[in-house]
Symmetry: C2
Subunit: 201 residues, 2 copies
Amino acid sequence: MRHQDVPRRRGRRPGGTDTRAALLDAARAVFSEQGYDGATVRAIAARAEVDAAMVNHWFGSKEGLFAEAVLKLPFNPADVVERLLDGDVDGLGERIVRTFIGIWDTTGGGVFTALVRSITSHELAVHALRDFLVRNVVGKVLAPVAPDDAEFRATLVASQLVGMGLVRYVARFEPLASADVDTMVAAVAPTLQRYITDTIR
Amino acid sequence: MRHQDVPRRRGRRPGGTDTRAALLDAARAVFSEQGYDGATVRAIAARAEVDAAMVNHWFGSKEGLFAEAVLKLPFNPADVVERLLDGDVDGLGERIVRTFIGIWDTTGGGVFTALVRSITSHELAVHALRDFLVRNVVGKVLAPVAPDDAEFRATLVASQLVGMGLVRYVARFEPLASADVDTMVAAVAPTLQRYITDTIR
């Protein structure tokens, strides 16, 4: 085996939890650029500056790494729900826009983009998007406040949120992609507010 | 070469224009299911029931087939613009929702889904989506009627349209995915109308 002749290149990091965190960051970046199919273990390891064997060591496989890096959200949906429900119902549309853009702008839209870009190859990405957008966040926020028709309202809210995310972070259509949070709130919050509390049929 | 010993399987169709049309239909179906990266020439040829060599014969490559099947729209954007502008400004939101859902429901959302599912691997898919949604259709419709800020308004309209398309045809979140056209018009047309003609800043 030639591996025994050539010293194994281990990269700069040790094999500990730093390596694991570096792989998670690198995976979010590469999955969001390339989608699930396009991303290779080799490219993710190179981005993290560690040996590709570390992916198997920490996550078992590309699949396992995707599950940890992308499908597990970097925040607790229940906390988001609690924050959204903290205030009057009339301000819900605005709080949703601020919260989502706040999260996405902070993380560079990385997890969202990785999810959208993996929808093709990965049925789990569709489930994750639905669980997060419809079931665990928007659905939970609407349940106590929507007058009726909560499920249809939740999918309408999801449609505008996912479209805003796609245009802003994935397709990057200008001028929406560079609009600041207040501009986005003024434009989009009334849409969400109407989907939540107004007559829609 | 073993190929010379084994009779070439040519499938059921002759190598004429029927084959070309069959390949275009099959390509839209497979690209919309698998995205650009996931779709193989072999799978498309098999769906069309023709020999894989016919792809090179008619389109040069997978790339060429994608350009013809997905990037060339199955209708003329100028006709869509003309139809949308035929009526009063207050009905524009409704006409846009009816027209888009009409086109997408008829084609099974195939071209749209193929575009969204190829955004990862194919920068051209992003350009095609922007050219169609923002520049050639929504932008052209807004130019004569939007009071100001036409470009921001166009990207807002695009965000709701692309989100509606994604939730309805790609991710298939219910109950939005199965809602009929009139239900979608009642819910979404006022959003688009506001983005086009109301104060949004």
